[in-house]
């Protein structure tokens, strides 16, 4: 919150609302109102419950717009957030077989099959979500939830490397660059300015990609090799930085190279907000690279947790979020791509690979597979060993 507010003030203040900025802002505002007016479809009066409890990732939609929706329908909205997918799974696990109290949650693809198998989700009634048909075909009927029985795409993106192009040269191109411990190599030159994410799945994937191995591997030898690579890399790192920390570090220049998600880098490059549509680029020197060896593509999904107390309102909410103009507003606010809004955002945003990953690239990347409890325990033990070294 604070960081974003700071950015907002710094962005608008320092640029002094340059003419370009102002006009594009006005343009986006008028664009929104025209978008909103286009969709005056008569709403079928539904018997909705009077409240709705949402559990979502932090910084992941335009809050003003959903508050307005809830006010219009007389729904009391409770909006809670988490910073790690593990928090959501922990919540579901702890509540099982009871209810979490939430009506909507947003889960990443790798976790979805496990959650479905465990019975953590209520099946969706697609008849109550007419806007589902607007979802592009690439995002329908995914492997992790055939026929969208339980989930619908929320947003998607990639994992790669964010770096400061003013300070770092040559350009970062591959994972090998951030595992290069030779004297005079990248790590040596930028020692203490490099960060990796403390997410077991992501950091192991990075190490395994670097070694030319399967990012989802749980083979003893592969994990051992990944562990050794991570231990060799460790002395050169500033820290293992999660989203908040590396975003801040890249902005201030404390970090020059950070392992991260595209949307987070998008949130640094562009001015962004949870309450407003903002389209200015404020830190174009920060670049984002999907490594040559490969990377993780991830897909977040709406789902209704087991025993949700307000299922009708939950379906209505998903339908509302899929409306193209709402999807566009969300994309223009937080800089994550909402597939149904793609054609409604300005061209510059639509064609920026940082936000809308090109389909050719997306097709080449790896999805996180679902790990068995035994595999998760083994992967976690590798992480403990790396941390202890």
């Amino acid at each position: 919150m604070k960081r974003r507010d700071f950015l907002k003030i710094a962005g608008t203040g320092a640029a002094g609302l340059a003419v370009g900025g102002l006009s594009s802002y006005l343009w986006s505002q008028s664009r929104i109102s025209s978008l909103e007016s286009q969709l005056k479809r008569a709403h079928v009066p539904l018997a909705l419950e009077d409240s709705l409890n949402i559990f979502n990732w932090t910084y992941y939609l335009n809050k003003n717009r959903i508050n307005k929706w809830a006010d219009d329908l007389g729904i009391a909205l409770a909006y809670d957030t988490y910073e790690s997918g593990e928090t959501l799974m922990g919540e579901l696990e702890a509540a099982y077989p009871g209810a979490t109290g939430y009506d909507i949650c947003v889960m990443t693809d790798g976790d979805v099959p496990y959650a479905i198998e465990q019975g953590y989700f209520e099946p969706l009634d697609l008849d109550k979500i007419p806007n589902f048909e607007l979802v592009p075909n690439d995002f329908k009927d995914p492997e992790y939830d055939p026929e969208n029985q339980y989930t619908i795409i929320y947003s998607y993106g990639t994992t790669g490397i964010g770096w400061n192009s003013d300070e770092v040269s040559p350009a970062i191109k591959k994972w090998a660059d951030v595992f290069d411990t030779t004297p005079g190599g990248i790590l040596d030159r930028y020692k203490g300015k490099v960060t990796m994410m403390p997410e077991v799945t992501e950091i192991l994937a990075a190490a395994l990609f670097n070694l030319g191995l399967d990012a989802n591997s749980c083979e003893e030898d592969d994990l051992e090799a990944a562990k050794n690579a991570l231990i060799a890399q460790k002395p050169y790192l500033a820290t293992y930085a999660g989203t908040e920390e590396f975003m801040m570090g890249l902005q201030t220049g404390d970090f020059l190279i950070s392992h991260g998600w595209n949307g987070d880098i998008g949130g640094i490059v562009y001015e962004s907000s949870e309450t407003d549509v903002l389209l200015e680029k404020i830190l174009p020197k920060i670049k984002y690279t999907v490594a040559e060896e490969g990377g993780i593509a991830w897909y977040d999904n709406f789902a209704i947790p087991m025993g949700a107390p307000h299922p009708e309102a939950a379906h209505a909410f998903i339908d509302f979020m899929l409306r193209p103009e709402i999807a566009a507003i969300n994309t223009m606010s937080v800089k994550y791509p909402f597939p149904t809004g793609r054609d409604y955002v300005p061209k510059a945003l639509r064609e920026d690979p940082l936000i809308f990953t090109p389909p050719e690239l997306l097709a080449k990347l790896t999805r996180t597979r679902t790990f068995t409890p035994e595999e998760r325990t083994r992967r976690d033990a590798i992480w403990t060993a790396v941390q202890a070294a």
Binding site: K234, L237, V386, A388, A389
Partner: protein, 294 residues
């Protein structure tokens, strides 16, 4: 007559006992529900006796204890956590003792000074930790001041090092050392000091042979209050730590939330608990304290 008196006294004693029991009851019930039950559940999880539906089943096994004992790096992290705990406790004693002594014995505005110590606790622990991060960071307040005064030429790298964890812990736990020490020293009978001086003891000798032994119970209580939570600290290494500061709390968090292996997480928790308990028992035996004053 004698028989009646006996009966009467017995009745009074019984009713007193009833009163004590009634007074104790709410606290005991609270502890039973919110401490003992979770504790036993942890123990049951650790030996594989709770299934997915959270039903207790009789399938005891020690597999997760064995797994934990074989985990690479776990011992290092155990020792690292204990090291942080011991260092924090030691520093809290060194920093806290003079303060507690001053407030208890010399200070005229005891309540006010104690209040000053407690005011920071009104602010959320998380917020204070974030504030400390702001002060210690390479472009933070501390470095700005030191650079401005020309004391250092390059900013000190404190954040994300052992020192950062250490500063964070001492800052957060100092009060838990000062308060029990203060409570103990405040009861110090000044006539004992006069007696010591009359009998020819110097200042150092008085301190070592009179004041220190009398304040030992407070020091022991304070040490436990600091050592136990500091060793199990999770937030400070998570926020202020770097690549070398992962503690046992972080391991347990990751095992529960990433590996989703509640059995292993419980086993590690209990192993660590046993580890700490052993240290504390040795410490209490060494400190020869029968009565711990809180």
């Amino acid at each position: 007559m004698k028989g009646f008196a006996k009966k009467y006294i017995a009745a009074v004693r019984r009713s007193r006992r009833m009163q004590y029991i009634l007074l104790l009851l709410p606290g005991m019930v609270f502890l039973a529900i919110f401490f003992m039950v979770p504790f036993f559940l942890t123990a049951l999880y650790s030996v594989n006796m709770v299934n997915r539906l959270k039903q207790i089943v009789f399938t005891p096994s020690l597999e997760w204890y064995l797994y934990a004992l074989g985990m690479e790096g776990l011992l290092t992290i155990f020792l690292r956590s204990i090291g942080y705990g011991l260092a924090t406790t030691l520093f809290c004693v060194i920093l806290g003792y003079p303060v507690a002594y001053y407030i208890a014995v010399k200070c005229r505005y005891k309540d006010f000074v104690l209040l000053l110590f407690m005011v920071p606790l009104w602010v959320s622990f998380l917020l204070r930790t974030y504030a400390l991060m702001g002060i210690l960071s390479s472009s933070g307040l501390l470095n700005e001041i030191l650079l401005g005064l020309g004391i250092i030429k390059e900013p000190l790298e404190i954040l994300r090092t052992h020192t950062a964890i250490f500063i964070g812990m001492v800052y957060n736990y100092l009060l838990f050392m000062v308060l029990p020490l203060y409570a103990c020293l405040e009861k110090l009978d000044v006539s004992l000091l006069e007696a010591a001086s009359t009998l020819g003891a110097g200042k150092i000798s008085t301190f070592l042979r009179v004041i220190l032994p009398l304040s030992l119970p407070g020091m022991v209580a304070g040490s436990l209050l600091v050592f136990i939570p500091a060793t199990g600290e999770f937030i400070i290494p998570d926020l202020m730590g770097g690549t070398q500061t992962y503690m046992i709390g972080n391991v347990i968090y990751s095992v529960f939330l990433y590996a989703r292996n509640w059995s292993l997480g419980s086993a590690i928790s209990l192993l660590f608990l046993a580890f700490i308990l052993a240290i504390i028992l040795v410490y209490l035996k060494y400190a020869r304290i029968k009565e711990v004053v809180f």
